[in-house]
Amino acid sequence: MKVEIEVNNSTDPKAQFVTWTPSPCRIRVTDPTGAAASTVNLRISATAAATGGEVVFRSGTSGAFSATLTLQVPTSGSTVPFFAAGRFGRASTRNGDATVQARMRTTSVGSSDVMVRIRKNANILTNDERDRFVAAFAQLNNQGAGRFSDFRLMHTDESSPQAHFAAAFLPWHRAYLLDLERELQAIDPSVALPYWRFDQPAPKLFSRDFFGVSDSLGTVQFSAGNPLRFWTTDGVQGINRRPFFNTSTGRPGVRTEAQTLALGGAGNLYRLFRNIEGNPHGTAHTSFGGSISSIGTAARDPLFFLLHCNVDRLWAKWQRQFGRSNPAQASAYDSNPANPVGHNLQDSMWPWNGIVGGDRPSTAPGGALAASPAVSAPGAQPRVQDCVDYQGSVSASGRLGFDYDDVPFA
C-alpha cells in the first residue's frame, strides 16, 4: 500500500514548509494493494536529525499538538485532513531535514520531507544558513540588474508617506519584507529572512563572511568568498555603512526589547505602540552613517531588511503578548478617518495595488506581491488589514507563512 502526504494541501516541493502556525495537510491512499478493509488506520509521525526541525500534529483546527497522530483513511483515495506545525524551539537548519511519515502498523507507507522554516536571529545562524541566505540575496540583486532593484525603488523619499509617519508603518513594512522573502525563497526555498536584534551585540552578523565589516571610512569589507562583495545598487558598487557603535561588542543606543514591548502603555494600545517607529526603529537606522541612515538610500544596504525584520518581530511579539492580532479590535490597530490614504485597515497598499498619482506616488515599481506555494494570504494586492494577523489566529486562511524563532503560535 502507498499513501500521499500533502503538506499545505500541496505536493509541490516548494510547499513542503511549515512554521509554528498550523499548516493544513491531507493524506490519501494512492495504492490500496494489501488493504483488507475500506479504511486503514495510519499513524502519522515525524523524524528529525539531531539539529533538524521537529514537526507535531493535530487532527483539527483546535486542540493540543502531539508527536503522533492516528487517522482513519479510506482506501478509496479520498483525502483525510490534519494539521502539522513545527515544534516551538525546534526549527530546521536545512531544507527537508524533517520527514513526515505515515505507517500502517510498523510499515512505512509514505513520507514527505519538510522544513520547519523560521525567521531566526541573524547572529545565531549556522554557517550554512548564513551562506545560503547571502547567496540568495546576492543573486536577487544580481549586481543591481536583478529583481531587487524594484525593492530599492519601493522605499524612496517620494513613497515615504505610504510607509511611514502613520498607522500602516508596521503593516506596510510587513508586506514589504514578505514580498522580498518570497522572492528570496524563489531562488532558494530553504531561506527565511533573519532579523538583526539591534538591542544586543551581533558580532557574527557584522563579520566579513556575513554583512561585512566597515572600515574607518564606512566602506564595508567582505571576505573573498562572500558574494555580497559584488553588491551594486543604483550603479554604485559596494555598501557604505559607518557604525556609531562597536559592532563587535556593542549595540546601538536603542530601546531594549522590554522597553519596546511596553510602548503600548497600560492599555497596550497600538496607537501608542506605533511609537516604535521613532526609537528603536529610526534610532537603529541612524546609529550608522551611510546609506541606511536616510530614507531614500536605506534599502541600498541589505542590513535594512534585517533591521526591519526585527521591528516586525517586536510587533509580532507585542501582538502575541497582549492578544493584539485581531485587526477588528480598536486596540490592535489605529484606523481612523484622519489617517492618510494607505493607512486604514480597508485601504490597499502601494505599490502592490498599482495605483499611481493623486495621493499615491507617481510610479508603482515591482507589480503584485509575490505569491507563495504554501499559503494564499495576503494576496497580490494586500490591504492593511491583511498584514496584521500574520498567524491567521482569527482566520486561518489569513496566515502569511512566516514565524519568528522566539514568538510561538498564539
Partner: protein, 293 residues
C-alpha cells in the same frame, strides 16, 4: 458612522497624551544649563513620532549652535535624522532642514560636517555635490578628505565626477582615495579596460583587484567570466583573487557554459582538496555544490 466619529477623536487624545513627554524632552534637550549626558539621553528618548514642526525647529537650533557641546549637537542631528524616518511633521520641516544642513557644511567640527555632507549627498543635493567636487579639484576648499568626498559623490554617480576620479586614480593623494575613486568609476562602462588591466596585474593590491572584478561583473560580466576562468586555472595566482573569481563564477556564472567546462571543473576539484587557503577551499566547495559535484 458612530464608530468612525469615535475613532476620529482618538488621535487628538493621543496627541494630548504625548505632548507633555515631548515638551519635557525638548525642554531638557535644549537647556544649556543641563549636563550633556542628560540632554543626549533626552534627545534619544524624545517621542519623535509625535513631535511638532516647532519641536523639530527647537532641536535644529541646538545643532546650529556652535557654542553647544559637540556631543549634544551630534545627538540632536541624529534625532532630526530619526525624525526623517518617523515623524509626520518632518515632510513640512524638510525644506528648513536641508537649508540648515547646507549652512552646516562650513561648520568648524569635522565630524558634524562629514555627517551633514553625508545626509545631503544621499539627498542628491546639488549644492553639496558641487562643494565636494570643488574640494577635490582644489584641496584648499576641501570640506572633507578626498576619499570621503569620493565616497559621498558615489551616492549619485554622474559623468561630472568621472574626470576627477580618473585623475585621482592616476595620481592618488593616498591609497584609500584611489580605492574610492575606482569604486566610483565602477559604474562607468568606459573604465572597463582599466579594470581588466588592474584585475590581471598580480602586483596590484588585492583589494583593488577585487574591486576591479566587481566592476567588471557589473558592467561587462562576460569579460569577467573569461578572466575569472583564467585566474582560477592559473596556479600562480593569489588565493584571495582566486576565491573572489570562484565566487563570481558560482553565483553569477552562465550555468550551462560553466557546467560544460571540464578543465575548470577538474581544477576546482583540485582546489577543494589541495593546499589552498580556507577561503579558496570554501569557495571551491560552494562552486562544486552548486554544480552537483
Amino acid at each position: 458612522m458612530a464608530t468612525k466619529r469615535k475613532a476620529a477623536k482618538r488621535p487628538a487624545a493621543g496627541r494630548k497624551a504625548k505632548r507633555p513627554a515631548t515638551r519635557h524632552a525638548i525642554s531638557l534637550a535644549t537647556s544649556s544649563g543641563q549636563d550633556a549626558a542628560s540632554r543626549i539621553s533626552a534627545l534619544a528618548e524624545m517621542p519623535i513620532t509625535g513631535a511638532s514642526e516647532a519641536n523639530l525647529r527647537a532641536v535644529l537650533a541646538v545643532v546650529n549652535n556652535t557654542s553647544e557641546p559637540i556631543a549634544v549637537r551630534l545627538a540632536a542631528l541624529q534625532t532630526l535624522q530619526t525624525a526623517s524616518f518617523s515623524s509626520a511633521a518632518f515632510p513640512a520641516f524638510r525644506g528648513n532642514y536641508i537649508a540648515a544642513l547646507r549652512a552646516l557644511t562650513q561648520d568648524p567640527d569635522r565630524e558634524l560636517r562629514q555627517r551633514v555632507l553625508g545626509f545631503l549627498a544621499r539627498e542628491k543635493d546639488g549644492f553639496a555635490q558641487k562643494k565636494l567636487l570643488d574640494g577635490l579639484r582644489d584641496p584648499a576648499k576641501a570640506l572633507v578628505p578626498p576619499e570621503k568626498a569620493l565616497q559621498l559623490l558615489s551616492y549619485d554617480v554622474h559623468a561630472e565626477a568621472y574626470p576627477i576620479a580618473r585623475a585621482i586614480v592616476s595620481k592618488p593623494p593616498n591609497p584609500t582615495a584611489r580605492r574610492e575613486a575606482l569604486r566610483l568609476l565602477a559604474a562607468d562602462a568606459k573604465a572597463a579596460p582599466m579594470f581588466e588591466k588592474l584585475l590581471r596585474d598580480k602586483d596590484e593590491a588585492r583589494e583593488i583587484r577585487q574591486i576591479s572584478a566587481a566592476a567588471l561583473q557589473a558592467t561587462k560580466p562576460e569579460t569577467l567570466r573569461k578572466h575569472a576562468r583564467e585566474i582560477v586555472l592559473d596556479p600562480s595566482e593569489q588565493d584571495e583573487i582566486q576565491a573572489t573569481c570562484l565566487t563570481a563564477l558560482t553565483q553569477f556564472g552562465n550555468t550551462e557554459v560553466v557546467a560544460g567546462d571540464t578543465a575548470l571543473m577538474k581544477r576546482i576539484e583540485r582546489l577543494r582538496g589541495g593546499k589552498a587557503s580556507n577561503n579558496v577551499k570554501r569557495s571551491a566547495r560552494q562552486f562544486l555544490t552548486k554544480y552537483g559535484r
